[in-house]
Symmetry: C2
Subunit: 750 residues, 2 copies
């Protein structure tokens, strides 16, 4: 069954295959067809690399500022280049008649296949099939198989395997385009290579590529040679072919960066990796990669029965998350756009900890541990951020790259080159408690007490210290305020006592005090300090108005405008008369803020409060962030707002497959993908952890769905939950016995 | 009136304008719309520079071998790059709807104009007009004017003026592609620059570009900045525009090479030239360029009345010749493909001396003097060539670049990579007497006795010495043979006593002896040596068979096959049964050989012999060289073969405008262009010089033509010849009185 998404060329043929038909140079599809293993990623541009494509090749953690306004994930040379020449004429598909062109992303195996049949003006018919993968088994290796069929002509076929250094960050933006490296290319019959030194000198990356002939039918290789053009390097094979000839090649791309070895060893290492990869060969590289992918899916898969669109789109979300992370690398985390594009410059936001992390925490805890360790490794940077602002402890940056320092620019330009002050890096400080929260969530799910003691606790103590110093005491009210912040709803800046921020900061202080008590003297926290944390936490101002939480001090005094009109996609339209340059005037919000708080700290609210707030705020939400729908799906399910829950779930789960935000070209919406998983896990399956640390399951299924089957981990066990309209089934697949869960209100022993 | 050429997009609107309609990325038009001033040339690729174009930027005399098989004219960075972005979106015409796109080459003024109107999916309508020229007044300066009209949108328009180093010799050939330089780019608000050092280290070329705002309507410049990307460099201007805005810019490209100044001065010099050019401004740069062009046309123009197709196509030929030469540079000459492409690697062949030179000799004698001086400057190289072969004197190379040494490769590869021995560099030695002949022709027409003594005589003596040593004496026949050569007809290799070669060699020896006698002791030639030249010349074997000249020893014994079939363009088809891998077996020839000899040394043949040989050889000519038709036109007119004369004239004159050889993409056919002039001058106008040095005019006009008006120089006079069917009119426009000419057999005093 084919399901047509918003872009009609994109559909999903089977539960695990995303298909694009037709020869298109579509930037959203470049993102969708990225191959990535969390160590390196290459966007889904054609092998030929046409100048109207936007190539992107990234090595996780390799950042540079150079001439850019901010530090960016570096777009490195394109290593998947392969061009075909027939009797010295380049097979340029823009000039050929393309009879058939299909790309298939097999998510189960992690293999992208491209196949096309084309003919030129002379009537020569060519068929080409390429497969590519970023190995999950050897994370520095990319592998391809190429099959060229000369349907009705003989002559000489030349295959050029190349690395191209003509790549730019923000290629399509004349104001911000930058090339973040100096490249030194070389080529011989064993490889085309490039060594890149980033402009600021922080990193060296070496990439090497070569191909070998796999099989030949009616064809013979008549020569191999190589060329180094300074800006690109290539290895060439000439084949003399007869009509009907089939040339089959396999090629390997090897990466190495100074993040792994010293700068002067990158070239040697990459050459060794390339040679080893070629020796291993496609069959074995493919097999070990697929084995790893299957293993990952076994741990992480979800099936939604009865809604194939949701089922497949959710799998695409999970696929993108899996491919964005690398459990072997604790010094990197997942950017807001994955490793799939340059949106948000590869920076890490709260998106990772609160939207993506839950998936890893419950499905792939080793990944979660590595991702959270990134924050622990950047603790020194976070301390510097706090110090720079005159505060104690650690303040995590709103945008984080490789140092842990704040990477958000203070100033930007609007498109008329007017200077615009950007405040998020200064005052959107809730990320600091978000990180502490995510660490607790991981520990609670995994029982990883070693991580808690060694890595989480230092973070939680330092963030508590930040909050304690950041609070302002109001003697008159005997309350502590957090003034001048931005909450998750970024329509309102420089606000006081954002309920979300204050409540989570309170939680952070209290949890830090608990941990200090637990660890005692070894914690490095004095009793006095811990007592202060408890005292100030109790007096943090959280504005309320009956059951309704006021998003921040004075929100309810803002002008209340009704959202009444929706576009064709059921997305809200700006109410008439709203001045979008002064959004702070109105009670309209960008995305979930109070509602998100109620998800995170649900134990602090009654079901009635949750429902009341959900209805109030959902009616006032413009959904101008891709982070919003997942939370409204999740909380819609938990508060019985079922229509909203399903609609918002479909919105979040289809974000990139349907490009419904219109900017998938710049990378995946990794938080929307993670949020989709959260909506299923916390929302539809209703999974939570109670105060005693026990699993609570209280599902609700959209009517359309027959059931959900979901694999996840809890306290060292692999579990499988199956939810249908009539039944909830929780199985233990592996791990120790003796787990108690509360299912639909009743205790169950597994 | 529009005349449609073979490529229907190309037509000629007025006598001096070549027009292309439609947005095409056509490689033949890149050649046709080259702007060149003989010092530098830039092929007619778009300002945007799409990757399916073939940019070519050449500085005359800048050659390099690098990794190529032979020394090549270096393809330098593309300096005419200009891209437009609207609200940061690149105006890529391949993605826009192009409502109108026209290019006009104004040959009278030497200005290429491009104008287009296009709209994008958002309905924004843009109109752009660019003009470009390679200044004839300041040969190191290129200038452009750019007018951008924002028909129905406001926003920010960004204009990027760039130099792109991603250029290659033989870009489209995977086997021979090369980048012949290392580039160092830089950019600041004053310029985007590149300094190129050729791989072999022989040359440094600096190029700098910048634009300035000329006028703005409904638009304001809101920022200028620059970027150096290592492989390209650019200067950017951001304009805030209203609907209907018009942005007008002028830009200057400056060149400097180490051929003019020392390597370390190129950058400084180019910056100075750029600044001066920008200060001078478009209006003045245009005016002084046009003045120079008008001056050139005044001296060189021909009008064919009654045949506008022939008239305009001939003017296009002359335009290309004018733009390929630089009278200020004696160290370069014109390659077989002009400065318009990479065919024949920019090498200079006999094409220059025998096909192009006559035009310069008679129309622009200062150009002729410079072009012939190139050979004088390379005399040392020619002597080395002779020495390398064990001969005395000077042997000019079949293919010549910057050293005068033989540049023809000894080995090549066929397209299946089989090694093929190339013999022309070894044995197509007639070029050596061709050069001597061209010098005599120049001197005879110009009366430049200083050139004769200082530059021509040394060449004529050294070439005579070569011939004297190259001859082989056959005691039995008491004759001198020249064995193992290739004549102009390259179908027959390793032949003995080619009539063309032997007769011109004889002429060379005799003329050398004459000059030696004239100059006496100062000539450096002893009486003894001069006497030997006369003796051996008299005994050079020239095979004849009655009035018919045998092309070489044994030609008439070859298999005689009849050419009976012709293609749609009246080009001969291979006779059935001919084995094209063994063409030496047959009496079929590639191009004029004996017939060409009869043009050059007409005084040695009777009219009856000329006619007999013309008919015999023309019937056996396959016309597989673009050099052939002009000679068959010329000699057709002189021998009364009028149908053949006109048909062959149209063939030669349309070569590049109609791309009738199918390879205009690789550069103009400069010999076909020059040959067209020769056919008019020597053929239709019947102009020659008799033994006494007097002008002889014996015209014949194709029936279709009403008349020819032709300007030329003779012995210090500027003359105008007007030929109609009833009348011949010769006017003296300037210069001394007292010229006697023989017109239609009768003496005329001017």
């Amino acid at each position: 069954m084919d399901i047509n998404m918003a872009k009609e060329s994109i559909h999903m043929d089977s539960a695990r295959i995303i298909t694009e038909d037709g020869f298109r140079l579509d930037r959203a599809s470049e993102t969708r067809f990225t191959v990535s293993n969390g160590c390196f990623a290459v966007r889904g541009t054609s092998e030929e690399l046409y100048d109207n494509e936007t190539p992107g090749t990234y090595v996780a953690g390799v950042f540079d500022k150079g001439n850019s306004a901010v530090t960016e994930l570096v777009n490195l040379p394109y290593p998947f280049g392969m061009r075909i020449y027939i009797d010295r004429e380049y097979v340029d598909l823009r000039e050929w008649t393309v009879g058939f062109h299909r790309r298939e992303l097999d998510m189960a195996r992690g293999v992208l296949t491209r196949e096309y049949a084309a003919a030129d003006a002379k009537g020569r018919r060519l068929r080409v099939r390429t497969e590519r993968l970023a190995s999950m088994a050897k994370r520095y290796i990319g592998a391809s198989r190429i099959v060229i069929t000369c349907e009705n002509f003989g002559g000489v076929v030349n295959v050029e395997n190349f690395i191209d250094c003509n790549v730019y960050n923000l290629k399509n933006n004349p104001n911000e385009r930058e090339r973040h490296f100096a490249a030194r290319t070389s080529a011989d019959d064993n490889a085309a290579r490039v060594i890149c030194a980033t402009k600021d000198g922080d990193y060296t990356v070496a990439i090497a590529v070569n191909a070998k002939t796999r099989s030949l039918a009616k064809a013979g290789c008549i020569g191999r040679y190589s060329r180094d053009f300074g800006n690109y390097a290539a290895v060439y094979d000439d084949f003399e072919v007869e009509e009907g000839a089939v040339i089959e090649l396999e090629r390997v791309t090897a990466f190495c960066s100074s993040r792994e070895v010293s700068s002067d060893l990158t070239e040697k290492t990459v050459s060794g990796r390339l040679a080893e990869g070629l020796k291993t060969g496609w069959d074995k590289l493919l097999a070990e990669h697929v084995r790893e992918m299957e293993n990952l899916w076994e741990r992480a898969d979800i099936t939604i029965d009865g809604d194939s669109e949701a089922d497949k789109a959710l799998r695409f979300c999970l696929y993108n998350l899996i491919c964005s992370a690398n459990p072997l690398d604790e010094e990197v985390s997942i950017g807001a756009k994955g490793l799939h594009g340059e949106g948000y410059k590869g920076h890490v936001f709260w998106d990772t900890e609160l939207f993506m992390l839950p998936f890893f925490t419950y499905a792939l805890p080793d990944y979660a541990r590595a991702l959270l360790s990134y924050r622990w490794h950047k603790l020194e940077g976070a301390k510097k951020n706090a110090e720079a602002g005159g505060y104690a402890g650690a303040r995590y940056p709103w945008e984080s790259a490789d140092s842990g320092l704040e990477e958000t620019p203070s100033w930007g330009f609007d498109y008329k080159r007017n200077k615009v002050r950007i405040w998020t890096g200064d005052i959107e400080i809730h990320i600091t408690c978000d990180i502490a929260y995510a660490m607790r969530e991981y520990v609670r799910a995994s029982g990883d007490t070693e991580f808690l003691r060694e890595r989480a606790a230092p973070v939680i103590f330092e963030t508590a210290r930040f909050w304690a110093s950041r609070l302002e005491y109001d003697k008159e009210r005997d309350l502590y305020d957090i003034k001048g912040v931005i909450g998750p709803d970024e329509f309102h800046e420089h606000i006081d006592n954002n309920a979300y921020t204050n409540t989570l900061a309170r939680w952070n202080l209290r949890y830090a005090a608990e941990l200090a008590a637990e660890y005692g003297a070894g914690s490095g926290v004095t009793d006095k300090e811990a007592n202060i944390w408890v005292d100030v936490a109790d007096k943090i101002c959280v504005p309320r108005s009956g059951g309704l939480i006021e998003q921040y001090d004075g929100f309810f005094k803002k002008q209340d405008v009704l959202i009444t009109e929706f576009d064709a996609n059921q997305m809200p339209l700006w109410p008439e008369g709203v001045d979008i340059t002064k959004l702070g005037k109105y009670q309209i919000v960008k995305q979930a803020d109070v509602v998100m708080l109620m998800h995170l700290l649900g134990e602090e609210f009654t079901p009635e409060e949750m429902k009341e707030n959900y209805i109030y705020y959902e009616n006032r939400t413009m959904h101008k962030s891709s982070l919003g729908p997942s939370m409204y799906a999740l909380m819609g399910a938990r508060t019985g707002q079922h229509g909203k829950a399903y609609a918002n779930f479909m919105r979040t789960v289809l974000t990139d497959i349907a490009d419904n935000q219109g900017n998938t070209a710049h990378g995946i919406h990794a938080a929307a993908a993670g949020g989709a998983w959260c909506a299923v896990f916390y929302g539809f399956c209703g999974i939570g952890v109670d105060a005693a640390g026990n699993l609570v399951i209280d599902p609700w299924l959209p009517e359309k769905w027959n059931g959900i089957t979901m694999n996840f981990h809890f306290l060292g066990r692999r579990l499988r939950l199956t939810v249908t309209h009539g039944e909830v089934k929780l199985e233990r697949l592996s791990g120790p016995e003796g787990l108690t869960a509360t299912v639909n209100g009743g205790a169950v022993e597994l």
